[in-house]
């Protein structure tokens, strides 16, 4: 029986972790993730989970300890944001290179400098090359659902890769929303028992993790890692199908909102997609064929499916809540790569919005959709990359 609650994103994800009851977790505070693992710590203190926690002295040590624990042979989680994710950057590659299914909610927050504790996507975007699977969440429900599914995806015997579940800092992590919890037993059954894969604590078969590899083999090891990534997409879809049977909620590689016959579209991640959907509805009621694509699986990126979904549009704006200085927004670069393969493709523009927790309002979506409308008529973009709603 689903339980309807009013909770924050952090609370929801912490509850998901409680229901999964991992073997080990690393805990280190960083705004706005802090209260997620704080809640989890009180579950531990109250005996609601059997998890052993490691109250590490930095995020780098958190990921290091998680890697050690996961290699030892068990289910491991940790959570972080922004500077914490940046600090553990070197270890992220090691976690994926060692094929360890560590599950990590990332509460997206801006990167310094200047220091900012609010939500934007620069942290997880900066980690997109680390070999982690990335699943992005629009709201508390999705964050909860994605966290539960992440275990099945990462721990799948063909995959065994770490998974990052992203949710917007403060906007989702700290806002109370109506959502539904699954029963504890349902989650436990869905996620299942942890299956070991080359555990270090198998004393009869001593193995060595983390060898030195020279120029003769490294290239091949990375090719092998790439191969694993190619299998993730189908596993994500399979897990989503199972999850739908359990929860009634449907998930895919991305969400297409009124996209089928759309002339103009926004491509936008996380909470701002929620805001934009209302504006899409407004435009539709005025007779303008607007649509929206909200990526969910960002790594590996489903290029073909995205191209297929956007191929009939005339003008698309890719909204990035992060920037790659000297380049285009990271999401924009993925979408252009996806669409490049098409013979006929829409005009693409890139807007950078909402950095450092700057509010993204329905009026901003309106501005962009109007601009797209003009482009769709005239066939040309005024400017490719622009910062949205910035004071001059």
């Amino acid at each position: 029986m689903a339980k309807v609650v009013a909770v924050t994103g952090n609370e929801a994800v912490a509850n998901a972790l409680r229901q999964v009851d991992p073997d080990v977790c690393g805990i280190y505070p960083i705004t706005p993730q802090t209260d997620m693992m704080q809640r989890f710590a009180s579950y531990i203190a109250n005996g609601q989970v059997t998890t052993e926690s490691i109250l590490v002295e930095s995020e780098h040590s958190s990921m290091s300890a998680c890697i050690g624990a996961s290699a030892a042979g068990g289910r491991v989680v940790t959570a972080t944001s922004s500077q914490g994710l940046a600090l553990m950057w070197e270890m992220l590659h090691i976690a994926s290179g060692d094929r360890l299914p560590i599950i990590m909610p990332v509460v997206n927050r801006a990167l310094s400098a200047p220091l900012n504790i609010h939500g934007d996507h620069s942290d997880a975007m900066g980690a997109r090359d680390t070999g982690w699977i990335q699943i992005w969440s629009e709201n508390a429900q999705e964050a909860y659902d994605n966290t539960i599914q992440a275990f099945r995806v990462g721990e799948h015997m063909d995959i065994r890769l770490p998974v990052m579940v992203c949710l917007d800092g403060f906007i989702i992590s700290h806002s109370i929303e109506r959502m539904e919890y699954l029963e504890d037993a349902e989650v436990r059954n869905f996620v299942g028992e942890y299956k070991n894969f080359l555990p270090l604590l198998d004393l009869d078969k001593p193995k060595s993790y983390g060898p030195l590899i020279l120029t003769d083999l490294y290239h091949e090891y990375k090719r092998a890692q790439h191969e694993v990534m190619t299998k993730v997409k189908n596993v994500v879809l399979d897990v989503a199908k199972d999850f739908e049977k359990l929860s009634g909620r449907k998930y895919g590689l991305f969400e297409s909102y009124r996209l089928d016959d759309a002339d103009i579209a926004l491509v936008i991640l996380n909470s701002a997609a929620g805001t934009s959907k209302d504006v899409i509805d407004d435009f539709r009621s005025k007779g303008i064929k607007a649509g929206l694509l909200k990526p969910r699986l960002f790594r590996p990126f489903p290029y073909e499916e995205v191209a297929e979904a956007l191929k009939n549009t005339k003008a698309v704006c890719v909204m990035d809540r992060a920037d790659s200085f000297g380049g285009y927004g990271p999401l924009f670069m993925e979408i252009t790569s996806a669409l490049y393969q098409l013979k006929e493709r829409p005009v693409l523009i890139n807007k950078i919005y909402g950095l450092g927790g700057r509010d993204y309002m329905p009026s901003h979506a309106e501005l962009v959709l109007n601009e797209l409308n003009e482009i769709a008529k005239g066939g040309k973009a005024r400017i490719i990359k622009e910062y949205l709603a910035v004071r001059e």
Partner: protein, 97 residues
């Protein structure tokens, strides 16, 4: 050893066989080789415990020959050997002579 293709590699670059280094014979590194002079050996086993390359074969608590497959010729054993009545039980000689 034929170089492996990516399909044959262990996942996560984990080295699955503990102690597989024994297949790498470091004896070819030697410029000097130790010689065991049995009659001067008091079987103290100091050479065995100090050897960085586990290159002294020991059986039932007594040292036997050097393991020339692995001995790098560092000479620690020869230097540390107490010998018998002032005569060392290990001497270093040039490899290949």
């Amino acid at each position: 050893m034929k170089p492996k293709g990516w399909k044959d590699l262990p996942p996560g670059s984990v080295v699955l066989e503990g102690g597989s280094a024994v297949r790498f014979k470091t004896g070819s590194w030697r410029a000097y080789r130790p010689l065991w002079i049995k009659e001067n050996c008091i079987q103290c086993l100091l050479c065995w415990v100090y050897c960085p390359d586990m290159a002294i074969k020991v059986k039932d608590g007594k040292r036997e020959e050097f393991d020339y497959d692995y001995c790098k010729g560092c000479g620690i054993c020869a230097l540390e050997c107490p010998g018998k009545k002032g005569k060392k039980a290990i001497e270093m000689t040039e490899e290949g002579t």
